[in-house]
Structures are given as structure tokens and as C-alpha cells.
Symmetry: C2
Subunit: 108 residues, 2 copies
């Protein structure tokens, strides 16, 4: 931590939390950390998210450069969502959040 | 990462992100990592947050066990907000988010 207690917080930190702090965003990134997925697979990994909200968040993450969409010209067309390098480098942050949750979460 | 791609994500992870993902929450925790603060000091550290929203979030964080409020019986009464042990152990996660933001944020 910076020793200057009253300095305004780094705007990059604010940017990151504004981006990652939207509902479901962290879980979607985590779901993609072990490889690209179809939206149907992501829906299975995240209980309670709706398909509409999932696609909304995937679009935002794509716009931010964290997620990339690959279209496979098969029949039927297959669309997969994966992390960019920017997305993959979120893993240490995701891991630390998981460790903290494991220690402190009292829900089951 | 777990090798089982289709397993539902740990509910603790969801709990942590639901808790930390609310607007400003991450920044408030970060502001308190280097010691207890009065709300006026926190307001100086987080540009754009309103006093009303700050107190709302502080109340939520207190309810979650992350923040504790200490009242000093002075004149005028002094109220400080600090992190509990649960809150302090968020530091590694906060640090990783900061590192990621430093690398990828293109806003100044």
C-alpha cells in the first residue's frame, strides 16, 4: 500500500473494478479460464444466470478486450467464447478471490 | 483450475463476487487497507462517490463482517471505519486486481 493515506485511488483500479464488478462478470471469466466454451456450457457452470444476461455480459467483455468469440463454420454453426491474453492474465486475481472466499464464506 | 469443465462453479466464489462486485465496494476496501479512516477521508480517496452511497456500502460491508465501525467518545464524536481480519485478508486479491489494471488499463 502507498504510504500517502489521502491520495486519490489509482483510476486504473477503479476502471478494473467497474469492469469486473458487474453482476456475473467475475464468474463468466472464471468459467472461461480453463478454455473456450459454448454459451450452453457456460450456462451449465453458472447457476441462476439467464441466457439473455450471459450474452449481454459476453458482449461487454468482448468490447473490453477480455473475451473473444470464434465462429466455426459447421452445420449448425458453432460459436465459442474464450479469453484473450488480457482475460487470461486475470487468473491470479480470480485465484486470490477464490482463496479468500474459501476461507470466509459460511454459505455451505 | 479444476479439470472438470462442466462442474457448477463453487458457490463461495459466487458469494464473494456478489459481495465484492457492488459498485465502489472494492475501492472502499482498498481505501481501508492501510488503516482505519473517517468517512470524510474515504470520500477524498474515491473520486465521484457520494456520501450517501459511501455510507450505504459501509453499512453493507459492516453487515458482511468486512468492515467495523469504531466510535470515539470525543467532542465532537469521531467515527472511524476499519477492516476486520476478514477484510484485511482481501489484500492479496486487491493487489492482483491492481497489477492486472496497471498492465491493461489504457485510461491515463
Amino acid at each position: 500500500m502507498n504510504a500517502d493515506d489521502s491520495a486519490p485511488l489509482c483510476s486504473k483500479f477503479q476502471w478494473a473494478f467497474t469492469l469486473l464488478g458487474r453482476p456475473w462478470t467475475g464468474m463468466i471469466v472464471r468459467a472461461l479460464l480453463n478454455g473456450p466454451k459454448r454459451s450452453k456450457e457456460i450456462l451449465q457452470m453458472i447457476p441462476n444466470i439467464s441466457s439473455r444476461v450471459l450474452h449481454q455480459r459476453l458482449g461487454e467483455l468482448e468490447g473490453a478486450g477480455i473475451v473473444e468469440r470464434t465462429i466455426y463454420e459447421e452445420k449448425p454453426v458453432r460459436i465459442e467464447y474464450g479469453l484473450t491474453e488480457m482475460g487470461r492474465t486475470l487468473e491470479p486475481a480470480m485465484d486470490e478471490v477464490q482463496k479468500w472466499a474459501d476461507r470466509w464464506c459460511t454459505e455451505n
